[in-house]
Structures are given as structure tokens and as C-alpha cells.
């Protein structure tokens, strides 16, 4: 069929699109009118999706490092080298000396197969993907919190909601399919509450705009809960009300700079709402006190008039198959379907199916794996671009004895590899992606991979054979059949069913109980245990501004899937070449400091300094200065990567800075 239905390879919304094909050539992209996510619409990334496949910068042959350079090699040479080196390292140092990073952008089948290869052929549970940080994995690893990093609501709940919070997220930048729904809700009169240091485009339509001092979002959430809960009769032994008892509007104003009257307005709107919906993304989870902030947000439903059937949390992931990578067991502690590696019966079930004994020790998460493993196999992941501490990541990769990267472009991680294997783009292979609302959808082959590139599932099967564990699949459909056998939450998925409909959402209840899936159920915590002091840095005369790393700003413009797409890179403003990092600053602060658009400034913090170019913005609130998180390498001395004290997960905390003309 010349119009091939497939799933958008960019954000986690998962809009449906058609690739227009003539012969085996990709001519363009069209939105699907009937698709339940896109509903006839796409954002610019979707409209340009074919461009990443037809890009002239695709990897076309395997590359092997000879001396300091990567040089073309045959598949035979590359794969036998990988097979031999991994076998040798396993023999010398054990499976735990090998790490495997799979991908929030590879298909479910590929993620499943690579996790299988890691556990059955390499004997390691060091299986992860670096983008997983986005969802606050420290929380995710504890079943009782897991609902916080999973989309329990769906995109269409935006249309059903009667109050929408945009919590530290800009859907226009990050999740346009969600933005389209919020825009329609706002036009229909649904109040939108925006919580951010930088107003997004939808902020113009928001009824209430709250600008907490960066780092005080938890205190704002607690303040809203305080107001909302004071409107209802406290239930007996209600620990939540006790937790936020001191978070009065005045206290909240003191902690966050948000006027008490606004706290009351938003809190009362929450109390009165029947269907409040909090939309949040990595902006909230990667913030300081992210864990507690998410806990506080999870209590919003309870503080409103919503009944138990309404889910008030809408987590949106930034990658097309973020959800699927986790579902497929690309996690150090779980086999596919969140079945713990520590459980003997689970291991036995997989061991029998896979015909190999499996390691029982939990593996290392990505940010701990690097630097500790001797060999690293990376498929479609790019830790240099995903992990917060760029310098440390590069150093760790540089010290790795053997680094293999399988990808479609020469990413910063691939540039450091010993062997590079060219994979297929979403347009050149069959498979499935699972969107942010757990909708499993087909990805369909519309063209051939360029040059000698091969579908990733074929590469994994080939390699597994060389590691002594032959994998014999005729197609990804067969892989999915095996997944359905072993993974309860995917037990109802088959290509046939997916072809009959617009994909299938795996359910949190019904046939597969929430508990079996490891979500929610008993012990689900409501709200944070306590509300600590704000993590907002103290500003003073010397350092009068709070600098915050914004995860939605410019993230796409720096993404390899955008940079390598010829029309899209221009649309996203990625064409402007090397420039100073842009520092977004409020008009008022710029006037005070006599700074104009483009003025070169020095940003000083207690830890170091950097230069930036001013962008005068009406979106940034006075007192805050905003830098895109993709600039974190250039900004490392000012915004030092640290670890969340609660979870150990690396984060970028806001810091107090001064800004002066150079």
C-alpha cells in the first residue's frame, strides 16, 4: 500500500501518520484523520517524520575503530569482533562487567530482544536506558510509588477534565498533541492553571498563572493542598491534612513568592473540581525535590471533588517508546512486565522460555553503570546527550574497554565507540511503540534501510547467535507472540489485534490487575510524608537571580532526530550554527541591567561562571533566568550536576547567580 500507517517516532504522545511511498522511496507524511491520538493533526515533527529516514547523514555501513578513527567495515568483521570481545570480557570478569543500554526510541520487540540477550547470553542485569531518568526512576523502582511515573490517565481525559494544571511543563514545546487538547479545553472555558518559571504559549490562555521561585514547587503544591483540604471535612487519621497543616497561603507566599491570593484562588478551584487533571513531565520530576513534588501532585485528586474512578495524573513522556522500553524489562531490577529478577519463580519462567539460566542480582541503573562496567553495548541510546553530567559521562565512556553503539546516526556516544552498527529507522522496520498512555501501536516498514544498514532486531538475533544463544525469529510478529506469552500486561497484544484497531492500551485493571502489573494497589502513598524547606537557592545582593535549567526549552532543536532532518531542523531553529547559550531573562530585569537582545553576559555562581547571550523574554518571570537544559555541558560550572538526596538520581538544581554585561 503506498500509504503506510505508522506511529510518530518523536514524542510519547504517539500520533498516527501515513508515510507516502512510491516504489521504495519515501515522499512525505500525512496525518491520519481517524487516529485516536492525532485525530487528523500532527505537530511539525510528525509532518516531517520521513525526513529523518531519508537523511543523507544516516549510518550506512558498520564502522570499526582503527587507531583514533572509525573506519568502514563489513558486517562480518564488525559482528565477529563484538562477539569475540564480549565473550572474552564475560569470561574474564563475569556478566556483571558488561552493561547494556537499550532505547526509549527502539521498538518493543527490539528492547525485549536486547534485554533477553543481556540476561540470557551475557548474563547481566545491567540493563537500562539513560532517558529513564526523566521519570524519576528512584521513585519508579519502588512499586508503591510507581503510579507516579506512569500515565494512569489518558490524553483524552484532557477533554473530560474541568480543571487542568500544567505543572512545570510546556506542552506546545514538548507534547503538541496534548497542547491541542488543552487549547480546546481552554477555549471551551475549562480553567487552566500554569505553574512555571517560563510561561509557555498556552499560558496566554491560562486563567491562573503561578510562578513559584524555581525550587519551591513542592511548597506551592503543598500550599494548594492546604487550601483545598481546608474546604472539606478532614477524614479521620488524614495524614495528608496534617502534613500540609502549616502550609497556609501566607506561608506559601513566603516560601514561593506566589501571592497568597493566587494560592487561594487556585486551591479553591482545585477543591471545587470534579475532574482535576495535572499534566506533568520531566520538568517536574527532574526538579529539586521532584519526588516529593510528584507525591504532592498525586494527592490533588483526593483534595478535590473527584471520585475514585477519575485519575488526576497525566504523565507525558518525551520519547516515542519510553513506556515500552520499561514494559519490556529494560530495567536493572525487572524482567519484562515488571516481573522482579529477584523472584525465583519469575526467573524460572523466563529461564525455561529462553533456555538459559538468568542472573538473580539486580543490575546497575544507567548512571551508575557507566564507569563501572568494562564493556557497554548501546542500542539507540545516547547517554552523552541524556545524562545530566556530560563530562563525567564522556569520561566514563572513554574508560570503557569496549563500547559498541548501534544507531541510525553518529551520535556523540557513537563517536566514542569501538564498533558502530548501522540500524534501521522507524520507517524501515516492523514493530510496535507503546505511547505515554500505554497504547501499543504498530510501526510498519515502508522503505528499505540505507546502504548496508539492518533492522535492529535482526542485528540482535545475529549477535546472540555469535554469543552462543541463537535466536530464531522470522519476524517481529513472532517476537510479540513470545512477549504475549511471558508478559501478563501484554497478554492481549498480537499484531492481528493491533491491525484491527488503532492499537491497544494495556490496561491497569480488568484482565490484568494493577497489582499483577506492579502498579498502585496496596501501600499506595498519598501525598508526601512531609513538606521540607524549599530547595530554592537563597538570592542576595551578590547573586540576585535564580538560574534554572529548562527541560522543555530547545530540547528538540538539539535532538539528533531533528538535527538530521533537513526541513525540520530549520523549522526548529537548529540551523543557526554554533552560538553562545541563550539566557532567557525577563524584560523588567533586562531593562534594569540595560541588557538587550543578544547582549553578551557573564553568569556567575558560587561554583563558577559562563558566558551567555541574553534573550529578552516576556515569558520569564522577574528574578528568574532560564537556560535550556541541553546547554548543561557549557553550563556545568554554574549548574553543577548533583544527586537527589532522596533517590540518588542525578538532577540539575536551580542556583543563585549574578548576570553582568561582559
Amino acid at each position: 500500500m503506498p500509504h503506510v500507517l505508522t506511529t510518530c517516532p518523536y514524542c510519547g504522545c504517539g500520533c498516527g501518520l501515513y508515510l507516502q511511498v512510491e516504489g521504495r522511496r519515501l515522499l512525505g507524511t500525512t496525518a491520519s484523520a481517524g487516529h485516536p491520538v492525532g485525530q487528523g493533526r500532527l505537530c511539525a515533527k510528525g509532518w516531517h517524520a520521513h525526513e529523518l529516514a531519508t537523511s543523507g547523514t544516516r549510518l550506512r555501513t558498520p564502522l570499526v575503530r582503527r587507531g583514533s578513527s572509525l573506519q568502514q567495515a563489513s558486517w562480518e568483521e564488525a559482528l565477529s569482533l563484538v562477539g569475540e570481545r564480549l565473550t572474552a570480557i564475560k569470561a574474564e570478569s563475569g556478566g556483571a562487567a558488561i552493561g547494556v543500554l537499550a532505547s526509549a526510541r527502539a521498538t518493543n520487540e527490539e528492547n525485549y530482544l536486547l534485554a533477553k540477550l543481556a540476561r540470557s547470553a551475557l548474563g547481566t542485569n545491567n540493563v537500562d536506558f539513560s532517558a529513564r531518568l526523566d521519570a524519576l526512576p528512584g521513585l519508579f523502582d519502588l512499586p508503591k510509588y510507581r503510579h507516579l511515573s506512569l500515565c494512569t490517565a489518558g490524553l483524552d481525559d484532557i477533554a473530560a477534565a474541568d480543571l487542568v494544571f500544567l505543572w512545570q511543563t510546556d506542552p506546545v514545546e514538548e507534547h503538541p498533541a496534548a497542547a491541542a487538547r488543552v487549547l480546546r479545553a481552554a477555549e471551551a472555558g475549562v480553567p487552566v492553571v500554569e505553574v512555571t518559571a517560563r510561561r509557555g504559549q498556552l499560558g496566554e490562555l491560562a486563567q491562573i498563572s503561578l510562578a513559584p521561585r524555581p525550587g519551591s514547587e513542592l511548597q506551592l503544591a503543598a500550599g494548594l493542598l492546604h487550601v483545598a483540604l481546608s474546604k472539606t471535612e478532614p477524614a479521620e487519621g488524614d495524614s495528608l491534612a496534617a502534613t500540609v497543616a502549616n502550609c497556609t497561603p501566607d506561608q506559601t507566599e513566603a516560601a514561593t513568592d506566589v501571592p497568597a491570593s493566587d494560592v487561594i484562588r487556585a486551591g479553591e478551584a482545585l477543591a471545587a473540581a470534579d475532574k482535576p487533571l495535572v499534566i506533568y513531565t520531566r520538568g517536574a520530576s527532574l526538579g529539586p525535590q521532584g519526588a516529593d513534588t510528584l507525591m504532592a501532585l498525586s494527592a490533588f485528586g483526593k483534595a478535590s471533588e473527584a471520585d475514585d474512578s477519575w485519575c488526576s495524573l497525566l504523565w507525558l513522556s518525551s520519547y516515542c517508546n519510553f513506556q515500552g522500553a520499561r514494559d519490556m524489562g529494560v530495567l536493572p531490577y525487572f524482567l519484562a512486565g515488571y516481573q522482579p529478577v529477584s523472584e525465583e519463580t519469575t526467573r524460572a519462567k523466563f529461564a525455561e522460555a529462553w533456555g538459559a539460566a538468568l542472573p538473580s542480582e539486580a543490575g546497575l541503573p544507567s548512571w551508575e553503570m557507566l564507569g563501572r562496567v568494562r564493556a557497554l553495548f548501546v542500542m539507540g541510546d545516547d547517554p552523552v546527550s541524556s545524562l545530566p553530567d556530560v563530562a563525567a559521562t564522556r569520561q566514563a565512556l572513554g574508560n570503557t574497554d569496549f563500547l559498541v553503539v548501534q544507531d541510525i546516526f553518529l551520535t556523540p556516544t557513537a563517536e566514542m565507540a569501538h564498533v558502530v552498527l548501522p540500524g534501521a529507522s522507524f520507517a524501515e522496520k516492523d514493530g510496535t511503540f507503546t505511547n505515554t498512555e500505554r497504547r501499543v501501536q504498530r510501526v510498519r516498514r515502508a522503505a528499505d534501510p540505507p546502504g548496508e544498514a539492518r533492522a535492529d532486531w535482526e542485528i540482535i538475533c545475529d549477535l546472540s547467535g555469535r554469543l552462543g544463544r541463537p535466536m530464531d525469529y522470522a519476524s517481529p510478529a513472532q517476537v510479540m507472540a513470545e512477549i504475549a506469552e511471558l508478559v501478563p500486561i501484554y497478554s492481549e497484544i498480537s499484531y492481528q489485534r493491533l491491525d484491527e484497531d488503532w492499537g491497544v492500551r494495556w490496561s491497569l485493571d480488568g484482565a490484568v490487575s494493577a497489582e499483577r502489573a506492579g502498579f498502585g494497589g496496596e501501600g499506595e502513598e498519598e501525598g508526601p510524608a512531609s513538606v521540607s524547606q524549599p530547595a530554592a537557592p537563597t538570592v542576595d545582593e551578590e547573586y540576585p537571580f535564580v538560574l534554572v535549567a529548562d527541560h522543555s526549552l530547545g530540547a528538540w532543536a538539539a535532538d539528533k532526530l531533528v538535527v538530521n532532518a533537513v526541513g525540520l531542523r530549520r523549522q526548529q531553529g537548529a540551523d543557526r550554527g554554533e552560538q553562545l547559550p541563550e539566557l532567557w531573562m525577563s524584560r523588567a530585569d533586562c531593562q534594569k541591567g540595560e541588557l538587550r537582545e543578544g547582549t553578551r553576559v557573564r553568569v556567575r555562581a558560587r561554583t563558577g561562571e559562563m558566558d551567555a547571550a541574553v534573550h529578552v523574554s516576556d515569558a520569564v518571570h522577574a528574578g528568574a533566568v532560564v537556560l535550556s537544559a541541553v546547554m548543561r555541558e557549557a553550563a556545568a560550572s554554574v549548574l553543577p550536576p548533583g544527586a537527589d538526596s532522596e533517590t540518588g538520581v542525578p538532577v540539575l538544581r536551580p542556583v543563585a547567580v549574578s548576570v553582568e554585561k561582559v
Binding site: M1, Y18, G28, A31, A33, E51, Q571, G573
Partner: protein, 349 residues
């Protein structure tokens, strides 16, 4: 031709005819894709034509002015020479059962691309294409061709125009090229009896009355846009409702913005042209970094000035909207044509 000729063909014979056309050229017709959406697409067998469709998700320009199109290839020849070779597409194409609005869209593109200097790539494809339209007897929720003077029945512009009338199709001939197709199909067509021609006239009247509810208020909007009487705040509010997806440009049968990009690898390369959108912030970005339309408001205004002002309507004979309604379904924000004309008429969001 003095008197436009009309023929009749029965449904079974129609399929036979389509089979013959498929043998002769690339036939592009409405076709149901996976999932059930209908798209203009290449058909390989007559039963793939979705005769009962309402609208297609894509306009015909995808085949005449593709989203990504190679313009020329070059190769290094010898030490200092370059060998350039333009890539013209001379595939014979028959567009079958296309909606009147979409055919009107092609006529609009003809006027744009035939202006001097003529666009050889487009015109080559056009010279090799035949247009067979299908009149509409059921208004579709989103479209408003009547207001755009682009349907539901056409007077001219088609090579052949088909109208479904109970058991048969009435076939009106618009051009020599159309007549040729009839002549080549020995025995499949019969001259249309007068009753059938009358039935078609009656149907047109009846349908136009039903279509009249589907309105876009062009007249008032045209005046206000032409004389710049739309307040800036209104453009500003519309700009807040544009999420810069480009979809309105891509689905619109009359939009023609493009940019070019070059590819090269050792000793060879090619130049492509790619669709662009006037709503993209980089659309007017100049190499100096200066952007005369840096504000989204200015871009929204420019788009609708282009679509709705007398200046452009005069140059291109009509305003730049054929009423297909696609932008209603595809706008990520809420700046589709009927909504925008209504806002402009009312003067407020």
C-alpha cells in the same frame, strides 16, 4: 468543442474502464488505507477505488508538487567539470474520482506555477496528467466549496466529470483529452440521454441548496483583510492559537511554499525541494539572522493576507481557498479558514 458532450456508463462497465486506465497510466484515486482513512493514492486494481468516499486526507498536490522532490542531480565530471541533470517526472498519471474542490485546487496551482518563470517540474507533471472529477451529492461536515466557488459541481477545468446517478454514471467531457479517453474505450460509453442530463441538473440544484448551510464568510473577511482593518490584537489572539505545525500549509490544495536543500557525498549530489510553511518561524529568516516576521502574529497575518486579500485574488483569479475543509481537521490550534473568517467578520475571538 461546440457542445459539451455527455455520456453514460454503467457501474460494471466503469470498473472495466478503470482496469483499462490502470493498464495505461498510473491511476491515482481515493483509496482506503490501513485504519480506514481515505487518501488519494495509487490504485492497482479497480476495486481499490473508494467510490463512496467523502473526502481524502491528502490533496492532489502531493503527486504534482511532492513534499520532498528531487530537482536535479549532479556528478563531478573530470577534474573541474560538473555534470548537471534535471530530474523531470514524465509519468503519465490519471487522477480519478477526485473531488471538485481538489480539482479546483489543481487549477489554482496551475495558475501559480505557470506564472513566469514557469515551474518546469510542476508543468511537466501537469502535462502528463488527466483529471477526472467526481461531483459531490452529499455535503461533508467540514467543507464549504460553495462559498469558495469550487464545487460541488464544476463547469470547466476537468477533462472528464463523473456524476453518480442511481445505476449509472453520467460522464461530461471537458476537454479533447477527455474525449480521447472516451474514444479509446470502445463500447463502454453510450451517449447520455436527455433525461439523464436533466437529472444531473436537478441534482446540482438540490445539492447546492443543501450545501448552502456550510459557510465560510469570505466576502466580509476579504474586505477587512484587504484594507488592513483587522486589529492587531485579533491577529495576536490568533497567533496564540497557532502551534506552528505547518499542517494548514501541507493539507491545503493551494499552498505552494517550498525551500531547497542540497545533499552531497563523494563526487555526487542532488538538490531537493521540500514543502515549507509560512507559519514556521524560520520561514522568513534571512542569512543575516534578521527575521522580518519574527512575531507569530505577523506570520499568521501574512498567511491570511495571502489567502484572502484582493491583491492576491486578482493576480490568481480567485482567493486562495477552495473550501476543502482540511485545515479544520488538521489545525493543531484553532486557525482554520472558517474560524478565521468568522473571527475577522466579528472582529473578536
Amino acid at each position: 468543442m461546440s457542445q459539451p458532450a455527455a455520456y453514460v456508463i454503467t457501474r460494471p462497465r466503469l470498473a472495466e474502464w478503470v482496469g483499462k486506465l490502470i493498464g495505461r497510466a498510473q491511476v491515482i484515486a481515493p483509496r482506503r488505507a490501513q485504519g480506514g482513512d481515505v487518501a488519494y493514492d495509487i490504485v492497482e486494481t479497480p476495486d481499490q477505488v473508494a467510490w463512496d468516499y467523502s473526502t481524502s486526507i491528502n490533496p492532489l498536490k502531493r503527486f504534482l508538487f511532492p513534499q520532498g522532490d528531487e530537482l536535479l542531480r549532479w556528478q563531478r565530471a573530470g577534474d573541474d567539470g560538473l555534470q548537471l541533470e534535471p530530474t523531470y517526472d514524465e509519468t503519465d498519471r490519471i487522477f480519478l474520482a477526485v473531488r471538485s474542490c481538489d480539482l479546483s485546487g489543481v487549477l489554482f496551482l496551475d495558475r501559480v506555477f505557470s506564472r513566469e518563470p514557469e515551474d518546469v517540474y510542476y508543468m511537466t507533471r501537469r502535462q502528463h496528467s488527466t483529471l477526472i472529477s467526481l461531483t459531490c451529492s452529499e455535503p461533508v461536515e467540514d467543507c464549504f466549496c460553495v462559498c469558495a466557488d469550487a464545487g460541488p459541481f464544476l463547469e470547466t477545468g476537468f477533462d472528464l466529470q463523473l456524476t453518480a446517478l442511481s445505476d449509472d454514471y453520467l460522464v461530461e467531457v471537458g476537454t479533447e483529452k477527455g474525449q480521447e479517453l472516451i474514444n479509446q474505450a470502445e463500447g463502454l460509453f453510450a451517449p447520455a440521454p436527455d433525461e439523464l442530463i436533466q437529472a444531473r441538473r436537478d441534482l446540482e440544484k438540490e445539492v447546492e441548496a443543501r450545501f448552502a448551510e456550510h459557510k465560510s464568510y469570505f466576502a466580509a473577511a476579504l474586505r477587512k483583510v484587504t484594507f488592513d482593518r483587522v486589529p492587531d490584537e485579533l491577529w495576536e489572539e490568533m497567533a496564540d492559537r497557532c502551534l506552528e505545525c505547518g499542517g494548514c500549509s501541507f493539507v491545503c490544495p493551494t499552498c505552494t511554499c517550498f525551500l531547497t536543500a542540497d545533499w552531497q557525498s563523494e563526487g555526487e549530489g542532488h538538490r531537493d525541494r521540500l514543502w515549507d510553511s509560512c507559519l514556521y518561524s524560520c520561514y522568513t529568516l534571512e542569512a543575516s539572522g534578521h527575521n522580518p516576521r519574527a512575531q507569530r502574529r505577523d506570520r499568521v497575518k501574512a498567511r491570511f493576507f495571502h489567502k484572502l486579500s484582493y491583491q492576491f485574488a486578482k493576480e490568481l483569479e480567485t482567493h486562495g481557498c477552495v473550501g476543502c475543509g482540511r485545515c479544520i481537521a488538521t489545525c493543531l490550534g484553532s486557525n482554520d479558514m472558517p474560524t478565521v473568517t468568522a473571527r475577522i467578520r466579528r472582529g473578536a475571538i
